[in-house]
Every structure is written in C-alpha cells, then in structure tokens.
Symmetry: C2
Subunit: 359 residues, 2 copies
C-alpha cells in the first residue's frame, strides 16, 4: 500500500485509518472467502460509537404515519427474520488513489466487504405504522452524534441520518446479526440498517429512529457530505450519493509485490455493482494495452460481489509490470479509466494499476 | 461605519466593498427619498458583469414546457408592461455587524434599496410556453459565470442561477428598466428578474434563460451558497434562503456621530419585510431599556420599505447614547435582538445599536 503511516491493528487484523472516531480498513490483499469474516470487516464511523444496552432499547417508527410506535429489541428479534447476503462499500473507498490527495479518511482498497445480514424488512415496520400517502422518503437516524467537519456545517451536535426513497424501502433490512453473530458495537449494536446496492453511508448503524417525511430529506449527510454535483440542463445540482458504481479491485498481487520471472501467478480479486448486474471482469498485464477475461468464481447474486481470478504468466525478463482489472456490467458499461471529478473525494471507482516487480 | 478599509467611490457615490467582481454599497446615511436613485443603488455581483448587446439578444424559455421559445429584447419591450415598486435587500446586508467577523462581502447597512421596476410578468412568458403539469420550479439563469469559492464547490465555471417556486412565479417581473431608465450593465442589462419579497439573490441579473424543472432545484446558489440550516424533527436540513426578514435600520444618526447636548435630533430610517406586513417601528435612545413608536412616513405597500422618523431630545449631559430601532409586523413578530446562527453569515436582521456621542 502507498500509505506508510497506516499501521496494522494486530489485535484485530484491520488497518487503522483513524482512531477517533474509529475507522478501520479490511486487509484486501487477504481476500479469500466470499463472506468477509466479521473481525476483518471494515469499520466506518462518523462520530464516537454509542454504548447502547439491548435491555430497554426501543426502535422508534414515526413521522408521517398513522400509527407511530416503538418496538423493543427482544420483540424485533422474535419477528420472522430474513437473512440476506449484501456487499457494502464505503463511498470513500480508494480515496488513497486520488491525485492530488483528498481530505477525508485515507481508505486504500479495503473499505468493502460482504456479509450475511439477518433482520426484519423495514417494509414490515412501515406497514405496521401505516405511512401517509404523500410520504416521500424514510429517514434512518442513528444514535451516534457529534459535530461534523465539512462545510457548510450546521451549528452544534447532530445525529447521523440518511434517507431512502419510499420505493427503495422494500429492499431495506433492519439487521441485528452479521454472519450469524450479534452485531458488535463497531458495527452498530443493537440494530443497523442494510440498504442493498447503496454505498455504506445508507446502512445507518446504531439505528434509533425510522422517520417518514413528506419531502426529499436535505440533512447534512445527504446534501453537504455524501453528495455530489450532478448536471441538470447545464447547471450543477447537488444530489445525494446513492448506488455503488461498477468496480473491480485486485487483491493479489499487492502493490510492489515481487514476482519470479517466468512463473505463473494467480491474480485474484473481486468486483461488484449496485446498479446493473456485473457480468465480466477483464485483466491486463501490460498496463491496459490488451485485456483478457478473468474467471468468475462466484455465481451472480443481486448486490453481492463476485470473486474472480486470472492466470498470469509473468514475463521471462525482469522489470516492472502494471496489472489492471476492469469490470463490465449487463448494460455494457465498463469501469472507467479516470475518476469522475463531480464526485469529489467519493466514488473512486476508476481502474487502479498495480505495479509488480518481476525479477 | 466600522469598516475603515471601505473607500467611497467618488465617481459614483457608492461605497466600494469589492472591485472584482464589483460589489458596491449604498451610503445608507444619505437615505432621503422613497426611491433610491439609480446611481446610489447597491450593486451585488457574483462574477464579472457580462457585456451583452441588446441587438440580437434573446431570452430563452424552455425546459418542462410544451412550447419552448426565444424572445428578442425589442419584442419583449413592445409587450404590455408593468411598473412595480419593490425593495431589494442583499441576503448578506449587515454582515459587518457579525461577531466574530464572517467571510464574505463586508456589507454595512446599505445593501438595500427601493426602485420602480418596469417589465413583463414572468407568468405571461410561462403561459406562452405552456408549462408542464408536474413542473415544480422555474430556474432563472444569468449569463454571468465563473468559479465560486464556498465549499462544496462544483468543478469548473458555472452560471449564476436561482429558482422560484411555481406558485411564486406569478409575482415575478422580467424587468428592463429601473426608475424609468434602462438597466445599466451593473444592474443586469439587458434584462433581470425582480422577485418581490425575496432577498436580492433571487432577482437574477443578466437573465438569459428561464427553465422550467420538475423537481426542486438544487443548484450551487440554492444549496451551498444562499442556503441555511433549518430543522426538521430534530435534524438540520438544508434549505434555500427565501423571503426578506422583518428589519429596520437607522440611517441617521450615523455610528459615532456627535450630537449637541439638549438638542432635538430627527432620527431617520427605513424598515421592511418580505413576509407579513410591516406595521410599526419603535425607537430606543437608552440602549433598549425603553421604546417609543416612530412616525411612519410612507403608506404600506407590499414588499416596499417604509421610511420612518423619531424626534429624539438628546440629554442635557454629555456622554454616549445608544440608539436602536426595531420593526413589528402585522402578525406581532418583532425584529430579533440577536442574529440567528442557523443563517450563518446571512439574514443579519438583528437590532444594531448606534452609538452617538452627546457633547
């Protein structure tokens, strides 16, 4: 990795990117399994992690509904549950690869992971609350709070909150378990949202309030942070980030790895999209001049990454080789060569070359 | 005035607050007439003033309409016109009085003025274009463009643009004259919008495009700049600034003016509101402990300021007196004592004390 200051947290096997609030990166070069082990799953926090006791905890459901209610943790867990595999990627994953360097947590490749999440459908809770006909969005609000840094900044402490569009709410889980184990505090205990296909910012941790609103939500993490400049008939307009863009990453070889000349090396990685289905990954070992299809190791599942591999025959002569991967989706879209500046320091989905030393 | 760096522009009688882009303040202490003379009317620019020739100039009307069209300057001027008196105040007027000092043009009292504007109703143009049933807002776009400074900032040059809600559009003028004279370049020649009751940011100068859109407009000057943090059920939410708040200002005496002990001084000022009707102004000569009604000099007109005066008998003893004025509207709202921090460096509508030296 390029970031020499990041130190491995030996206790947990995660790369510490920030201690307060805690932001930990998965060691992507160690990717093997389809499901990321819980203790290697990246942790993204905006404020200090609240300490919440399950006993007495209640999730509130209110706003533009006929029947606002609060539901206890135990009651929620006794309801019929769904277990669903979902890949989450932080919208700032890969920020380390931006030039010039951008402000924010310096994520490398590993602010992404896949788990099986268990919980109830948000739609079941909304049906019980009977949402108003003119409801527009559902605001998911965490118990975590603090003072954000980006401008323009509201005065005082705010709670983390994001919204999902009403139509999108059918997909969303209110989860209490991750790969079969109760959520840890870092991952949002006792409850978190899981919004399949969206960047991780939408999967609100320490979920405390589900609030139905009648107009598009213009909260801080929806407009100032986790937002970008789209274009509307020639004008830049501010829009919230939403679905994960088509992307592939190379887990192995690592940046600057030494490979024996003339050997066969199994290039290994993962690829995903929160939009159209991912159908193919291609690999180049000559810096992008020629490309060949990689072997997909996982069947397609909605909003879940697919691991891939590619047998690369390292050249007989010594020197630097630049390996690249690119993903292609069912609509024929291809992972871009360059970062789209409209996204600022987010959506770093462009092809990143991995320089390998053949010797 | 507190701002010692601001120099009078002798050529024009305006106070130069910024040269590029040109931002000029009206000398509020010279307020006399109901209508501000054109050469004393404040000038607010975001980018360099475009040089537009009337010959060949066309205003475009398009977007979510059945019949998009362009109309020439001469044709527009040949249409039945409306002349309407309107007070415009810059949303940053009074920024000089914020503590701590805020970024932005350091306006004192005089980024406000009243003129008679002549033009056609925007609604006439929209009727001709036949706007779509599901239209939400009307974007007014100027020909001026540049790179804004506030964060988050879109990449590259953008044009100045603001929107008015569909319902609000009935009020709006597309004006070519100001107090009977053609607009000058600084005031938006050949055409500008006039949005009565709103801060000046809505009255787009060098108007080039009227564009109907189907969703609330989230442009830079609607979300990043000229916006504030409202509260929605405990969450800060970003909203565009809109109507001018209830406010009064003292034109005379000036800050630090010397007044003869025992003399009668005619305190003079103006007051306005873009919301409920302004009904009363009160004056205090003891720093706000006691208040008495001022005499209103102008009849009430919608979205037009009213001048007022108050006969103050200066004390017989020498010392500092703090004069204050406050406005009251038809709903019983009173001009606030403190600046509302949610508005950042905008909406500086609080009561400002004028220190006078009695000697």
């Amino acid at each position: 990795m390029q970031d020499v200051e990041a130190a491995k947290d030996e206790r947990r096997g995660l790369i510490v990117r920030e201690r307060e609030p805690v932001n930990l990166e998965s060691p992507f070069e160690e990717l093997n399994e389809l499901l990321t082990p819980n203790d290697l799953f990246y942790v993204r926090s905006h404020f200090a992690a609240p300490q919440i006791e399950a006993d007495g905890f209640e999730l509130r459901v209110g706003g533009a509904v006929e029947n606002p209610f609060a539901i206890g943790y135990a009651e929620l867990r006794s309801m019929p549950s769904i277990t669903r595999m979902v890949t989450l990627e932080c919208a700032g994953n890969g920020r380390l690869f931006l030039t010039p360097q951008a402000e924010g947590v310096q994520w490398g490749l590993g602010a992404v992971g896949t788990a099986e999440w268990t919980g109830v459908a948000l739609s079941v809770l909304l049906d019980r609350a009977k949402i108003a006909k003119n409801a527009a969005e559902i605001v998911l609000e965490g118990a975590d709070k603090g003072t954000p840094k980006e401008k323009p900044t509201p005065a005082g402490e705010i709670r983390y909150a994001r919204s999902v569009e009403r139509a999108r709410a059918d997909d969303v889980l209110i989860a209490w378990a991750m790969n079969g184990a109760d959520l840890t505090r870092d991952h949002g205990f006792p409850l978190r949202a899981i919004v399949p296909g969206h960047y991780g910012m939408a999967s609100v941790k320490w979920l405390a309030d589900v609030r139905v609103v009648r107009e598009p939500f213009a909260g801080y993490f929806q407009t100032t942070d986790y937002a970008y400049w789209a274009e509307l008939e020639g004008n830049p307009v501010r829009r919230p980030l939403s679905s994960m863009k088509l992307k592939s990453s190379i887990a192995r070889p690592r940046m600057r790895e030494k490979v024996k000349a003339g050997s066969r090396y199994m290039v290994f990685g993962a690829a995903w999209s929160g939009e159209a289905d991912l159908v193919r990954v291609e690999v180049s070992s000559d810096g992008g001049r020629s490309w060949a299809a990689a072997e997909m190791l996982d069947k397609p599942r909605p909003f879940v990454w697919r691991r891939w591999q590619f047998a690369w025959d390292a050249p007989d002569v010594t020197g630097i080789c630049v390996l690249k991967s690119r993903a292609i989706d069912a609509r024929g879209n291809m992972q871009p060569e360059e970062h789209d500046e409209r996204f600022g320091s987010y959506v770093v989905d462009h092809v990143v070359g991995v320089e390998v030393e053949v010797r």
